[in-house]
Amino acid sequence: MTDTLTATARHDAQPAALLEVSGLVAGYGQGEVLHAVDLSVPAGSVVAVVGANGAGKSTLLRVLSGLLPAAAGTVRFDGDDLASAAVEDRIRRGIVHVPEGRHAVAELTVDENLRLGGLWRGDRRELRADVDAAYDLFPALAARRTSHGHALSGGERQMLAIARALVAHPRLLLLDEPSLGLAPRIVAEILGTLAHLRAERGLAILLVEQNVRSALSVADTGVVLNLGSVVAARPSAALLDDEQLRHAYLGF
């Protein structure tokens, strides 16, 4: 893991990426959604996957976390191919997925939801410390620790989903549409917390977003996905400057 956590992480500047995806093919039933996707996420960097609806962004994250099996290709994480590993194995190695839709377990309290994230480690004292650390990161959750999942607001649920993922000790966080349907102020708060984590712990983030501008503003690298293929992978600033690409794939 590298200590250079400034926003200049580039493919060529990294010795070996934390996550290296190559030739990844996946889909649902007969329909192939991802066609030979190549992608790399250096340690401690933020990579944003952007693209239109139906480009395969969420499918990509589902394959990376193991929810959806890959039909072909390799998913190298820290040197090991995890393309056919179970979801639990990937979590144990540090790939943690926060899916779209803010999955707060309705009948568990905020505190229990957070503990859920780290139950697999089995060390209760360490788990308690991790949950407390999550409260420090998201003070809004600390105020609601005995509330049930079904009583939370959308913003609180999103924070809870991210905080629960952090309790699992991720090295790579897969974030699906964290800003969807949230007030800009809350989005800024969440993104600020993630930037802090990346600086503090060297957390790498693969971010899927509809909101291209805000995603590229926090990411080092932007990957443009179109109909299941990568059409560009460049530093965020370069992507934003490429007017042709923006018009063609990002719609602004």
């Binding site: 639990e88 926060v98 999955h103 568990l108 139950l119 697999w120």
Partner: protein, 376 residues
């Protein structure tokens, strides 16, 4: 199949057995109680119940033993339905496994001339192990099935029971079942209490053990895993939980509790026969769980009590009415079924969270009224 669909809906729709914070102010007692508090409540309840056995005649003590045996099964079933959302119509079969496990072990030990605590405890232990093992198998087979499909699988197991007992009639006694040789009350107590009262003690202790262990499960890591699997499988999987393992575990625990219930029944009635664990009994267990309040342990107790008391109350009423003898005997068998069905419908309309849900809501209303009057 109205019972199945209602229960499935109650379990699936997140129709919380306990009320949401909105309609019940104050903390939910079951979840906030500390482990020590739960032990204290269980111990106090057990002492009270054992004290009550001195006030009851032998027949009523026998009924109390039956209720305690049913509590083991309904508590196990309510955890399965309420926690992991798995519906079982086959809990009578797990009780039967416990009953036959108890009967075979107890008879074998008695044959070998063993008596005393060993003759009492070992058969119970074997019964629980056998039912848990069977529950693990059924759970593994059913973990990928949902709602009616899982219910269908468990239904098939109950329906297969008579075939199993007649196929292995040499061992299991066919339709007649087995007579169970059990350890009677200890010598020192024989002058003080009737054997029925002693049996009630044993049954009550078994029920108390089941209730405490299942309450412990509540918000333990295992309980959190089960709740997560039921409410949001995706969130559970992405938290590193294998839903398959959790569902099988819940089935095993639930079946083990039911097995202990069956063993208590075999101990108290000194018999294990396929007729006692048929489909209608299996459905009664489910109705008891739903009427009591799905997912709650107190609800399981209410349901079990109802299961024992309702037929008694009906018999008392039909005996009191000036009816011809054949009408009485016809009503005794069937009226309980009818009233149970009607009760289920009424409870589902009037109190969808069952008796326990209604009680908790009532307490919340009283509490909010008192706080309002004290604050003004």
């Amino acid at each position: 199949m109205t019972t199945t669909t209602t229960a499935a809906r109650a379990a699936d729709a997140g129709d919380a057995p306990m009320p949401s914070p909105a309609d019940a102010p104050g903390p939910r007692p079951r979840f906030t109680a500390t482990a020590r508090g739960r032990y204290a409540v269980a111990a106090a309840g057990l002492v009270l119940a054992i004290g009550a056995t001195f006030l009851l005649d032998p027949y009523r003590n026998y009924l109390l033993s039956l209720a305690a045996a049913y509590v083991c099964a309904t508590a196990g079933l309510t955890i399965l339905i309420g926690r992991t959302g798995q519906l079982s119509l086959g809990h009578a079969a797990f009780m039967a496994t416990g009953a036959y496990g108890f009967a075979l072990t107890s008879n074998a030990l008695a044959e070998a001339g063993i008596e005393g605590p060993v003759l009492l405890l070992v058969p119970f232990l074997v019964a629980v192990i056998a039912a848990t093992a069977f529950g693990t198998l059924v759970g593994a087979a059913g973990a990928r099935l949902h709602g009616p499909y899982l219910a269908g699988l468990t239904l098939a197991i109950v329906l297969a029971l008579p075939a199993v007992t007649s196929t292995f009639s040499g061992l299991l006694g066919g339709d007649q079942g087995l007579y169970v040789r059990t350890e009677r009350r200890p010598e020192v107590l024989s002058a003080v209490i009737a054997n029925e009262q002693w049996q009630a003690w044993v049954a009550l202790v078994a029920a108390a053990i089941v209730l405490v262990l299942l309450a412990q499960l509540g918000r333990s890591p295992s309980g959190i895993r089960m709740q997560a699997v039921r409410d949001d499988t995706a969130a559970a999987r992405l938290s590193g939980i294998d839903p398959f393992r959790v569902k099988v575990q819940a089935f095993a625990i639930s079946a083990g509790a039911a097995g202990l219930g069956g063993a208590v029944l075999a101990y108290v009635t000194q018999a294990a026969s396929p007729g006692a664990y048929g489909l209608s009994f299996s459905l009664f267990l489910l109705v008891a769980v739903v009427v009591g309040g799905t997912g709650t342990l107190p609800g399981a107790v209410w349901g079990a009590l109802l299961l024992v008391l309702l037929p008694e109350a009906i018999a008392a009423v039909t005996d009191a009415l000036p009816l011809p003898d054949d009408a009485v005997s016809r009503l005794d068998g069937n009226l309980a079924v009818l009233i149970f069905g009607a009760l289920l419908v009424v409870i589902m309309i009037a109190a969808p969270r069952g008796i326990q849900g209604a009680l908790v809501a009532l307490r919340g209303r009283i509490r909010s009224r008192t706080t309002r009057t004290t604050s003004t």
